[in-house]
Symmetry: C2
Subunit: 352 residues, 2 copies
């Protein structure tokens, strides 16, 4: 049965597990916070679920546990942060901080990362901009190539996600967090677990025929959103979050599900901007409220409505989890309990 | 039969038609150049094809033929250009110029437009960045709402296109120019003309069932790329190219196919950036060549390959058209000839 565990217990648990590997306390705390923020956004695939694979990478030496994270380029509104192989969550937290300060100083900012690692959910970082009334665009190179370029068969591209945040006034603001593929491998595995068929357009075989049986994932190819359009967006993310930063892209990407040892040289990119180009910041936010309201007030399509704004359910969901705990599925709980035993860490509520 | 007409003849023709409406010579020349650049990119739907509808808008008073185009915001790397109801091509040409200069000065730039108009193909403007070795992201509010928000039925969104340009060295560079919908109304009309069926995923009815008969366009709803993902991107374009600039978005959008009189207050946005964040500019371009090369060298999917980089066929296509003329379809030629007669302009080669 899915158990609810308090945020504080989970944070303490992550910190103690990471401390057992001699991770710096301030890094352990940041990694825990960013992972649990993904859980609070409902993006459980980037939440505490990831802890076991992160520890595997620590054990294999794939992380630098004493990274010198520093700005190797700092030029007006732009900066490049070299994460020195540290935790992606720590590198990206620093990147957000730099981007916020630069956006406040210059009106806009671009901050790239290299020698970073998987940082979890893009929406976690993009949504930080909303606390500062900033617009944000986030891009990242995914850590496993499951997608061929459009028209090809070789797996040279990852899900390369894009996240966007737009501040609003009464409305909680837009936080879009999407892969540039229609579905992720993870989502297809969930369908297989549940015995569901896949909709046409998620997966196809090497002749381009639709695959609707999710257990055939291994013979299938993911599809980019809108065919060549999503492929083009994916390539652009590769150029902007990868090549621009001197980070891995294409055949340079290390598959973090198979190779736990080689530094991934993951790249991420953040654009942040003040929304006061025409309106005042408050005026912009009020206008966004109006435009979003007319969307959500639209006549619903039976069976698909009502209209939502991406991310609008997050605040209520987070509040509920803060009050009642984060849901931990039995399989995840079992893996976390096993990890606790190995590391001689008190599993706390996870043991119940 | 499709006729080939030289670029110089078409440019002169557009200038003479616009002069007959007392359009300023420098504006007529810019409008002609940007339209024909769309033709040279193979985006004929934004080329000389549009001239007749532009003249309809001139006649109805929807354009300001003596606009005071000015920067109403100019703050470090950011600017807002008020187009004062002038031609979109003229406003966007000014916006590109400002963005290039600011990107060279600050390393990056954001330039928005308001009180602009339909400017044609986004790829035309994004690709200007390549001449200056700059990265570009372009977004625009489309001028007719044919898309409901995801889950709804009311037509509140346009195709809101995105264009991206990434400079390369030997490779001509990526120029992606996409609507955030799977197909455009125009593309579906072409299918109807040709008697083709539509693939599933282009159009659906108000219950969410696929429509494959293109003649049923009027009862259909366009689909965003990747379902809610493309809807989210579409909304973000609305916020960044519309609301941010004080330009029309959502129910504020004027349908330029039905209302030729009301100023459209169209908004566009440009991000331009130097590619020298980690590598030198030349180093970046060389790296992009390598990554693009491994994509195009990928094993082709039978019937769908070879792999292409968006926009890579454009230079050869443009060279061919510069040499042999721009193809003008009979229906377009007939409309242009009729326009010439009405305006007492010499149709030149279009008469043959």
């Amino acid at each position: 049965m899915t158990q609810r565990v308090s945020l504080a217990s989970l944070q303490r648990f992550i910190e103690e597990i990471l401390a057992s590997y001699d991770v710096l306390p301030e890094h352990a705390s940041t990694v825990g916070e960013r992972m649990l923020e993904a859980d609070l956004r409902g993006q459980h695939g980037h939440g505490i679920f990831r802890l076991v694979s992160y520890t595997k990478r620590i054990e294999a030496g794939g992380y630098n546990l004493r990274p010198q994270i520093r700005r190797t380029t700092d030029r007006g509104p732009r900066a490049l942060i070299d994460g020195d192989g540290g935790f992606g969550q720590v590198v990206m937290t620093e990147a957000v901080d730099v981007a916020v300060h630069k956006a406040k100083e210059f009106g806009m900012a671009w901050v790239g990362t290299r020698n970073s690692n998987h940082a979890g959910a893009g929406g976690v970082y993009a949504s930080k901009a909303l606390e500062h009334d900033l617009i944000c665009l986030y891009m990242a190179i995914g850590n496993a190539n499951h997608l061929p370029p459009w028209g090809g068969l070789d797996l040279l591209l990852s899900t390369n996600p894009i996240a966007i945040a737009i501040p609003a006034a009464e409305h909680p603001g837009l936080v879009l967090d999407i892969a540039t593929t229609v579905a992720s491998n993870g989502r297809i595995k969930v369908a297989a677990d549940r015995g569901e068929q896949l909709p046409i357009g998620w997966l196809e075989d090497r002749e381009g025929n639709p695959i609707t049986d999710p257990t055939r994932l291994d013979e299938g190819l993911l599809l980019p959103i809108g065919g060549y359009k999503g492929y083009g967006l994916n390539l652009a993310v590769g150029a902007l979050a990868g090549v621009l930063n001197g980070a891995a892209f294409g055949s340079e990407v290390i598959d973090f599900n198979k190779d736990f040892e080689t530094p991934t040289n993951t790249g991420q990119a953040l654009l942040m901007m003040e929304p006061d180009l025409f309106h005042s910041t408050d005026g912009f936010k009020a206008q966004i409220d109006e435009r979003f309201h007319e969307m959500t007030a639209a006549t619903a399509m039976p069976g698909r409505g009502p209209v939502r704004i991406p991310g609008d359910a997050t605040p209520a969901r987070a509040t509920e989890m803060r009050e009642h705990g984060v849901p931990i599925e039995p399989a995840v709980r079992a893996r976390l309990r096993e990890l606790a035993m190995q590391r001689d860490v008190e599993p706390g509520l996870l043991a119940e």
